[in-house]
């Protein structure tokens, strides 16, 4: 298996500038500012075909190409380090262990996009990641790798950290920018696209931390080398955060196209040796797949799309047989209800409605028509909202209902879970 990001053993000091430099760090930045033109960098990134790792898998090069060079306006770059999607904790690995990889990549991206000030919007709850990135910025600035006249060239760029305040929706790219502007983090309507009018109404690129962290390698080794990993339609690797009922949860870097079954093995298999009931493959906003559905799948964007789901944010939640899907949906809907920003009608009202219905079902007061109502509220959020939160909640709900409807009918009829007494996994020894 190829490693593009988790390329080194993590030690007490592996996150420092000295350690990063000993692995060849910042040599690519040096070559870029000395030898390359901004458009050459973007061309390489476009050729590499790297897709967004934040959820939507949009090709980064296509996003970058919208930025017009030398248009007399300031441009901005933002690394999305909000990592709020439940089940996702892979950006945290990068921030804690490879902060300089992110910084070097951001500086290269900033060079390509003619950015003077780049931002990292960081999840408010992140503590160690914040301290690691902040000290990396200090180290890089002291070493002349950041700030004015980087490595003696004419390129100036600073990277600033902006810490969020605990809102999930502020991970949505436009809400993130609005939050950096010091306003309430409401998502914005498109058009205009953020690459046309983003931060402070200027052309802006927002990319996920992992997406950006691939840039250094792409520019160093070339697009062809990047494309040699993964599949034709999903080049490169992905960091997958595996959680739930597996023996060894954690962050794994896999080649795109890696077999799910092998990844499950890498994680030590399902806890307690139970059967695999289901997997949420890419954060709770991606549709659930049953164990049977995912077992034969290769983990790449096209295979998951064909199966009706997505790799999303790479937050893989493994669910063992015996888990109650009604309660799972209840937890998810509580989350969406709590995190809806309240700006647009279908999500603001719909999330609370979904949550209240599922709570009532769990309380033993469900009615047969509730299932239909859950579907209809989900549909009313499909494509009607300003940002993806409302849609995602709808997909998550209809996804679980489609595949596990009998569990809901059982609970409504018997006023209890089909899995009572069989819920908790015994801690593995």
């Amino acid at each position: 298996m190829t490693k593009l990001i988790m390329t080194f053993p993590v030690t007490e000091t592996s996150h420092t500038l000295a350690s990063y430099r000993s692995r060849g760090g910042y040599a690519t930045l040096e070559r870029v500012v000395r030898e390359m033109r901004p458009e050459d960098v973007t061309r390489e990134v476009t050729a590499a075909g790297v897709q967004g790792r934040g959820g939507a898998a949009f090709p980064a090069g296509r996003k970058w190409s919208v930025i017009k060079l030398n248009d007399g306006q300031p441009h901005y770059l933002c690394a999305n380090a909000d990592e709020g999607e439940p089940g996702t904790f892979k950006d945290r690995w990068i921030l804690e262990n490879a902060p300089h990889l992110l910084l070097e990549s951001m500086l290269i991206a900033a060079y390509a996009l003619q950015v003077r000030h780049a931002f990292v919007y960081m999840r408010g709850e992140f503590d160690l990641p914040y301290r690691r990135l902040a000290s990396a910025i200090d180290e890089a600035t002291a070493a002349g790798l950041m700030g004015e006249r980087i490595l003696g060239s004419a390129f100036d760029c600073d990277v600033l950290i902006y810490r969020g305040a605990g809102s999930y929706v502020c991970g949505e790219a436009s809400a993130l920018l609005t939050s950096i502007e010091g306003k309430r983090g409401y998502p914005r309507n498109r058009p205009p696209r953020l690459t046309v009018r983003g931060l402070y109404q200027r052309p802006t690129v927002v990319n996920n931390v992992e997406t950006l962290s691939n840039i250094t390698g792409i520019v160093r080794d070339g697009a062809a080398a990047f494309r040699a990993v993964g599949t034709a339609d999903s080049p490169g690797t992905r960091l997958v955060s595996v959680s739930g009922h597996v023996n060894r949860p954690g962050v794994h870097e896999i080649d795109l196209g890696y077999a799910f079954e092998r990844l499950l093995d890498d994680c030590g298999g399902v806890l307690d040796g139970r059967a695999l009931k289901a997997v949420i493959p890419g954060g709770i906003s991606s549709k659930v797949l049953t164990g049977d559905e995912i077992m034969p799948l290769a983990l790449d964007h096209e295979s998951l799309a064909a199966a009706g789901s997505s790799l999303g944010s790479g937050g893989m939640i493994v669910i063992a047989e015996g888990t109650c899907m009604v309660r799972l949906l209840q937890v998810m809907l509580r989350f969406y209800h709590h995190e809806s920003c309240g700006q647009c009608t279908p999500c603001r009202e719909g999330m609370g409605w979904l949550h209240r219905i599922i709570d009532r079902i769990v309380a033993g007061e469900g009615r047969p028509e509730d299932i239909d109502r859950l579907y209809r509220i989900s549909a009313a959020n499909d494509g009607t909202t300003i940002c993806g939160l409302g849609d995602a909640a709808g997909y998550a709900t209809s996804g679980i209902l489609n595949k596990f409807r009998p569990e809901f009918e059982y609970w409504i009829e018997h006023k209890r879970s089909r899995f009572d007494g069989n819920l908790v996994c015994r801690a593995s020894s």
Partner: protein, 481 residues
């Protein structure tokens, strides 16, 4: 100019217009809550959905009109989506229309009947929120009725710039609130949020529960509060709903004042002083004609005034800057040659009042000083001496602000005023006049814009209409006895 087709009708959209704007410019109304022609696009209510051929459903307020676009505002898919959005909008609404001042002119109520009509599909408990939260001493907020369209918030950010309102919390727990610094209470334009609110969430404390809107009618008028002369509607009881026994005074009350949108570039806004015109108009009136403080019938006083004018030599007139263009012209026609005429400043800024700002409010607190100054361009100190050098032997003071102490020694005084003042008793002749709501006319504002106002009520019989009065005082108007 992109040409788009809306429901089969080809229309030309101005460059940069959204579909909702282009349609509206051609008389096609696409239902909406959060969009407002004078505010930025929020795109949050999701009610203005339209179907675009080849692209599916989208919101018309954030959809740029582009060449050849085929738009349907009432296709089955649009109707169903709109119905869903209305259902969700009403989900946590208390539906207390029976006690809501907005009922009858509430967009939510109208749209519900037009586009949904069904009873609530939800049996869940509604989200409870604050009722009667005082946003300021002028406005109360009912958070349960608020549909979080953010129009009022955008108004304070984009138009009045007080930034006095915002939304707290999130999701269906979102709450509209005033900022903690008191900016909303100080905002001299705050009451405009009453009109931008599409529902009954924002309520004027001065008109709260005073009348159902269907008992009221608007009369076109002009705010006399300053030289801007904003176009307004004065709302009062419809004649067919007159109260005969209960409290007839209510039939002559101005219940509320709203801006009248005549398309002026400043937008459909007025300041809070304009909202308080009822209090301005309803100050204690002068209702009785007097000679030296002694009550006389109106016609006796008019005769006495005519005699005084005939018998004096050096006459000075102070004309009212609250008089209409028609009244000023009538004065000039009838008496202009016999008087040296100066324009009087009837009102000056009151303590605490905003004197002037860079939006609407003007320092000149009179509606028609521009027209008066154009007709009577004489400058100088009126009371000391006429331009001839002769001290005046007659002063005619028209309008508020007459001060008997300012009269030159030996001069007689004719005073015409609509509102009561102790000094009236010291005039040789006092004639009470009608007020703006009892007559029609025009004012010319400081920009030269002429705006009309109509009469709301009949003039009481004991007061004079200035135009008729001047005609009666004109030379030769009296038939010799």
């Amino acid at each position: 100019m992109p040409r788009i087709v809306v429901d089969g009708r080809a229309i030309d959209a101005a460059g940069g217009q959204s579909v909702i704007e282009a349609a509206r410019a051609h008389g096609i109304d696409i239902p909406h809550f959060c969009w407002h022609p004078s505010l930025s696009v929020a795109g949050s209510c999701r009610v203005c959905v339209v179907e675009v051929e080849g692209r599916g459903l989208d919101i018309a307020c954030n959809l740029p009109a582009t060449e050849g676009m085929q738009v349907f505002t009432d296709s089955p898919a649009v109707r169903e989506r709109r119905r869903e959005m209305l259902e969700l909008t009403l989900l946590n609404h208390p539906v207390d229309c029976g006690i809501c001042d907005k009922a009858g002119e509430c967009t939510l109520q109208d749209y519900h009947y037009a586009h949904n009509g069904a009873a609530s599909a939800s049996g869940e408990r509604k989200v409870r929120a604050t009722k009667f939260h005082a946003l300021s001493d002028r406005i109360v907020l009912d958070n349960e009725r608020c549909i979080l369209c953010s129009r009022c918030v955008r108004f304070t950010h984009e138009v009045s710039k007080s930034h006095g309102l915002g939304i707290l919390h999130r999701g269906d727990g979102s709450l509209l609130r005033e900022t903690g610094d008191g900016a909303f209470a100080r905002d001299p334009y705050s009451d405009n949020v009453l009109d931008v609110c599409p529902v009954g969430a924002l309520l004027s404390r001065s008109s709260l529960y005073r009348a159902r809107v269907w008992y009221l009618q608007p009369t076109r008028s002009v705010c006399p509060g300053c030289a801007r002369g904003c176009p307004v509607d004065l709302w009062h009881r419809k004649p067919e709903w007159r109260l005969n026994a209960l409290d007839p005074a209510k039939n002559r009350a101005i219940v509320r004042v709203t801006p009248r949108d005549d398309g002026r570039p400043e937008g459909p806004w007025i300041c809070n002083k304009g909202r308080d015109l009822a209090a301005l108009f309803e100050r204690p009136r002068a209702m009785q004609a007097m000679l030296h403080g002694r009550a006389v019938p109106l016609d006796v006083a008019i005769d006495a005034a005519a005699d005084l004018i005939d018998s004096s030599k050096t006459r000075i007139a102070l004309v009212s800057s609250w008089a209409s263009n028609e009244e000023l012209a009538a004065f000039k026609d009838a008496l202009g040659e016999r008087f040296t005429t100066f324009v009087k400043e009837d009102h000056r800024p009151l303590p605490g009042e905003t004197i002037e700002d860079d939006f609407l409010i003007r320092a000149d607190k009179n509606p028609n000083a521009t027209a008066a100054a154009a007709l009577f361009p004489v400058r100088g100190k009126p009371m000391s001496a006429a331009p001839s050098g002769q001290p005046p032997d007659l002063v005619l003071a028209w309008g508020e602000g007459f001060d008997a102490r300012g009269l030159p020694d030996g001069a007689r005084a004719i005073v015409l005023d609509a509102y009561g003042h102790a000094d009236h008793a010291r005039a040789d002749v006092f004639i009470p006049l009608s007020i703006q709501t009892e007559r029609a006319g025009h004012y010319t504002n400081f920009q030269g814009v002429v705006r009309a106002f109509d009469a709301c009520f009949d003039k009481p019989a004991s007061v004079a209409d200035a135009q008729e009065l001047f005609a009666a005082l004109a030379v030769g108007a009296r038939v010799p006895a």
